[in-house]
Each structure stands twice: as C-alpha cells, then as structure tokens.
Symmetry: C2
Subunit: 189 residues, 2 copies
DNA sequence: GTCTATAATATGATAGAC
DNA sequence: GTCTATCATATTATAGAC
C-alpha cells in the first residue's frame, strides 16, 4: 500500500480549520482540499462519503481532543483541582487561539450541521459539561452547584467566542475565561 | 407604481428567518425567495445587490429591533430598572423563541459574513452591550461593574443559544437568561 | 494513493414579457 | 413589481491514468 501524502492528524487539522471558519455550507470541497494539501479527488479517496464523512471525522477528532485535553485533565485525581482547572483553561485558550478561532461545534450547529450531526454535537457538548461537573464535585460543590457551574463554563466559552468574533476583539473571550476562574474562586491561569 | 406583493417588514422577517437558520453561505437565493413568497428575480428587483444587499438590509432591520426592544426599554427612566430588565429579557426570550432560534449576529459571524458585515455586526453587538451598561449604571453599579455585567449579558445570551442548539434542548438558554436576572439582583446599597 | 479531466447539478445573477 | 426562461459559474462527485 502506498503511504499517504498527508498523515491523518495533519489532514484532519487542516479540514477542521476550514470547517470552523467557514461552516459546513461555506466550506467547499476545493477549500477543504487546499487546506489539506491534497487534491479534491484524493480527498474522496480518503473520505468516500464526501463532505459529510469529512465533517463527521473532524467531529470524532474533536471528541478525542476534548477527552485528552479536558476530560482526562479534569478527572486526574493526582493533581489538586485548582491546578487541573488552570491546565484545562490553558488548553481551551490555545484551542481557540485566544478568541480568534471559531468553535467547530458552533460552526456545525446551523441547520445543515444539526440535520447531519445532531448526535455528535450533543455528545461533544455533554462530554465537556460532564468534565467540568466532575471538577466541581471534587472541589466540594454540591451536585446542583457543580452542574450549574459546568453549564456556565461552556456558556462562557461559546458566548465569549461569538461576541469576540462579532466585535473583532479578543477581550470578551478572555474576559469570559477569567470569569470561569472566578466562578471556581481562582485568580491566576 | 405597482404595489408590492409583500410588504417590507414581512419580507425582511422571512429573509431573516432563512439567514439565521442557514447562515449566509447556506442560504441560497431560492431559499430566500421561497421564504418571502417572491420569486428569485423579484427579490433582485427589491434588492439589486443580491444576497449581500439582502443580508445588509436584514442586519439594519435587526439593529432597529434592538433599538426598540432593548435600548429604548432599558433607557426608559420612567420605569424602575428591575422592571425594565424584566421586559428586555422577555423580548429577548421571544426573539429567540425560547432558545429555538439562532441569533442572526452569530449566523453571520462566520468568515463570509465577517468579511462583508464586520461593521454592522460590531455595531449591533455594541448597541446591545451599551443598553445593558446603561441599566447597570441606573442601578447604582460602578462604570466598571456595569460594563462587566453588560458584557456578561450578551455572553450568556449567545452562549446559551449555542449550547441549546448543540444540545437540542432549550434548558441551557433558559438557564442563561435566569443567570442574567440573578446577576442584577445581587446589588447591595 | 494521488492526480487531471470531466460529468451532473446547484447557484448567483440577468433579460425580457406581462 | 412580478414572473418565466436563461446564462455563466461554482460545486459535488466520479472516471481513469500513473
């Protein structure tokens, strides 16, 4: 078997970049091909199902990212909760390039994306919330408090990203991240 | 002059509905025409600039909505601040159909929309934030507190909408709105 | 596995009748 | 002001050479 010109991870990173900035309908097969360094027909070889399969694979990749960069961090009982939170927030800040990048879940949550990927979008969001809920419980908050805080975490992240994009200014996103730390009664990243 | 088949407001409501659920790239001229009850060529007669002019007109319409349903409510010194806040939140809840509808600012904040409408998106967001800032000042909060709360209001609305859409559940949005009310009830004199 | 070339369809936009 | 018909282009998707 001939080795691939572009490795899976690099390929998926490029594809994700296009999907998150242009959305499902806005991302053409040519856009996706350019981003990955492959030609259109080669993309079809790697993803016979076309754009739908590409977006599905990207969402799977994102789910793995959340698992390794958020869930496993926040569930790690070997570290103090405050330290876990700091690391998770750092990872989130980097994922969205300090507010410059759009979240793929948001990008794929328009009509077409919801129709095709409702289950994966819900699963990724749930995964995120459950991770922060676990942190809250470890910090001694009640079930209800931990749930409420976890929901507010993702609301702050998504809201901060939308507002920062609309304003053309990263400050709202960075403010939203700071608000998360305050919510858990911390002051430094 | 022949009277229009569809009045401006009704036309814009239909066009906005398509744009907010499908986004700029996902909304085809045929989609937009169907929603409005006009044929494609008739849409071009009303909006010679095509889709770009349509989206621009919708954003202008939205700016007027924010002015009448949020700004004028929150600036109305004839009512107690708490009452103004309640009315504004009710209007927001209705605008997004309790979390079922996507915000047009979010929908047009992907790559294409930002390229075309950066100024209008920023203006609408600023208008919104300034309105809530005024409320906070009237409630006796400091400049910094009022600004921070106002920013958190729109972060909660946008974040709540994204999370609700991704989860397929209105609860996050309704929770986010409740959080706004709580945020303004914590004031102590 | 990747490429060039191309088919089939959808889309943005216009012409001209009524 | 609205419509049907049409054009030019872009898009999804496939065929076949290397």
């Amino acid at each position: 078997m001939r080795p691939p010109k572009v490795e899976d991870q690099q390929l998926l990173e490029g594809l994700m970049g296009v999907l998150r900035s242009k959305g499902y309908d806005g991302a053409s097969l040519n856009d996706l091909a350019s981003s990955s360094g492959l030609k259109k027909a080669s993309l079809y070889h790697r993803f016979p199902g076309g754009k739908k399969e590409i977006a599905g694979a990207v969402l799977q990749y994102v789910s793995e990212w959340i698992d390794s960069h958020i869930k496993q961090i926040l569930f790690n009982k070997d570290l103090p909760p405050a330290e876990r939170l700091g690391k998770a927030i750092q990872n989130i800040d980097a994922l969205y390039d300090r507010g410059n990048e759009i979240c793929i879940i948001r990008a794929l949550s328009m009509d077409t994306g919801i129709t095709l990927f409702a289950e994966q979008l819900k699963q990724g969001t749930t995964q995120w919330i459950e991770s922060f809920k676990s942190l809250g419980l470890d910090m001694g908050f009640t079930e209800a408090e931990a749930q409420k805080k976890a929901l507010q975490v993702i609301i702050n992240v998504q809201g901060g990203l939308v507002v920062s994009k609309a304003m053309g200014d990263n400050a709202p996103f960075e403010h939203a991240l700071k608000g998360i730390l305050e919510m858990y009664q911390l002051k430094e990243v």
